[in-house]
Subunit: 158 residues, 2 copies
């Protein structure tokens, strides 16, 4: 097995582990992985719009509406008509939503962080460099693809 194979297999193991832990965690939080993701995005600023979420997550506005509906019915967020532009609806996180976010940390983190901390300094540095290298390799296409990516997107949660 050559290096390309090895690295692809490793990437797939990573993707898969992430996917599975996402499911588990979302379940324990009473939300699905996607719903949690939306809540995280809203929680970053505390308030946002459907449009902003849809751009940030590269998902249609209709999908966002459906997801926000779920969060609203779970009491995680509330909708509120914007006063500056009345076409817009602001979506605000509630105390309960914040609490949920705190109780349900990012699925990746749970698995990853404790192990990462145990590593030696040089290895941590190497890992970060390697991951960033791969990320750059993979999402360079994205940058060419469209004007959707903005500065905010560089810190994207998913």
């Amino acid at each position: 097995m050559d290096r390309i194979d090895s690295s692809l297999v490793a990437l797939r193991r990573i993707l898969r582990a992430t996917e599975m832990s996402g499911r588990e965690l979302a379940q324990s939080a009473g939300l699905t992985a996607v719903q949690l993701r939306v809540l995280q995005v809203i929680g970053e600023t505390g308030q946002t719009t459907a449009k902003a979420i849809s751009m940030r997550m590269h998902v249609s506005q209709a999908t966002v509406t459906a997801l926000v509906d779920k969060l609203v019915s779970g009491g995680m967020v509330v909708r509120e008509k914007s006063m500056t532009d009345r076409r817009q609806t602001n979506i605000l996180i509630t105390d309960r939503g914040r609490q949920t976010l705190e109780d349900a940390p990012d699925p990746l983190q749970q698995l990853y962080v404790q192990r990462f901390k145990q590593m030696e300094d040089w290895e941590q540095a190497m890992l970060v460099a390697a991951l960033e290298r791969v990320a750059t390799m993979l999402d360079a296409e994205d940058l060419q693809a469209g004007a959707i990516l903005t500065t905010g997107d560089l810190n994207k949660t998913e």
Copy 2:
């Protein structure tokens, strides 16, 4: 931003780029990402069973049945009762299925391989080591979780 954050952000960029390229590619191949994944699994050995796929992909047999239905109606695979154990149904890839696989290489590969090849030897080695390190960190849980993982799973496609 500390190293943990950096590496988590990088991981998310990787996940996201993969997800998006998976969508695009599956679309151009006339199959969804999941269907393509199933076809890849079948293509590895040329022939397998629903049970094997469901274990390999950690998905219920009912889901596999539905996915294989799609592939059958697309002419990518055929079903054939096993003669050694008549409870089983062998799923065989067709020429057309093979062709589709060739035309639609793994989404990850498309993006990744050409860039990987351009890297210097030492950097390739470092990347592989780093990725495997992360993969091990993340899917160690899996190994404890159940007896589902077998040797075959270590080469899993997804």
